[in-house]
């Protein structure tokens, strides 16, 4: 697949986040203290994910003009696809594993990110259910 096709594929997966998270009752319950906007950046394309009380209420595709977010997670579409494999390979199986070796960049207000780390990791990898 071309880089462009991979980008479109990853974006299409993340655009399913509202329904995927809604279907996961346990995840919504664990995330009930989290309300924030964060960005998932696929290559150069940012997606603004809005979370309200643990539910993903919207995923908007950028580019944006001066739109704020709390934190962002950036990776190439190929890296996102590796993370989202149903049984990922060693080294690309966790967001922090990607961050350690520079395959993902986690930036911004990291207090929100760290205080809700498991919930955020579970939201981001929710599309594994579609793979």
């Amino acid at each position: 697949m071309t880089a462009e096709a991979n980008t479109d594929r990853v974006i299409a997966l993340f655009e399913r986040l509202p329904a995927l998270v809604e279907a996961n009752v346990d995840l919504v319950k664990r995330g009930r203290f989290l309300s924030t906007d964060f960005a998932l950046v696929v290559g150069a394309t940012p997606l603004l994910v809005r979370v309200e009380a643990g539910r993903v209420t919207s995923v908007a595709r950028g580019p944006f003009l001066l739109r704020p977010w709390t934190f962002s997670i950036t990776a190439t579409p190929e890296t996102w696809l590796k993370l989202l494999k149903p049984v990922p390979d060693p080294g690309t199986h966790d967001l922090m594993a990607l961050s350690k070796v520079g395959l993902a960049r986690i930036e911004g207000n990291l207090q929100t990110f760290m205080a809700n780390l498991q919930v955020i990791k579970d939201i981001v990898t929710a599309p594994r259910a579609l793979m």
């Binding site: 049984v87 060693p90 199986h93 966790d94 780390l117 498991q118």
Partner: protein, 287 residues
Amino acid sequence: MKSSQKATFEPISGRYAHLTLSGRPHRLYIEEAGSGIPLVCLHTAGADGRQFRHILNDATITRDYRVIVFDMPWHGKSLPPTGFETEEYQLTTASYTQMVLDVCDALELERPVVMGCSIGGRLVLNLAADHPERFRALIGLESAAHQQPWYDTEWLHRPDVHGGEVCAALVSGMMAPQSPAESRHETLWMYKCGGPGIFKGDLYFYRVDGDLREKIARIDTARCPLYMLTGEYDFSCTPEDTQRTAAQIKGADVTIMKELGHFPMSENPAQFRRYILPVLEKIKAAT
């Protein structure tokens, strides 16, 4: 109405030992099972001896080994020493090494095998370098002389981030996706139970004080055999970290374990058993 249920008990004894560590009195919780060659198990940073419950319950192991697991001070059912409330807990290479030697002496263990995981895996390298005559064999799980850090430990102990939740969330990705959910969540539970700042204090040894790269070349496996086993999904102590360490130690026996991560004994006991039984068999055969 009275229940007709009868409790079943595991063949593990748990006791509280009183002994002096680093010059201070301690009340240490120790579990053991089996008889034969003493096998002392060292838990990971920020956790406790419950990680080894499947080893303690494994009749194939306890037939030949006296398995001994203690909760380090400040961990599990071992208390912190008197006066802890005004101190910042920090594990050091010296205090950790002396603790293990002191526990072995206090229990009158004759040349035990020590098996440690993560910080325990690092510690066995120090035992191999400095005290080979004291041990029959050493087993390092997720063991390396040094590895690259991947987050700031300041996140582990601050009022605006729940310590137990963040510790568990960080280590959750260090387990293999194939490990059973039940075992992965049990492993994480121990991280959620840790005292404030204890995981961080253990990592002082791991990150700051315990770089053994200069020291490991002196390890002589002819004096004390060294086994190193690392899970392929461990991105904290990677297979490459273990292999790089082992390359400097002549005779180190390295195994990279499939479908396991940083907590092999607790995240997937059945899979770990496939790897650890042959090692224990080899040690027994050489005895």
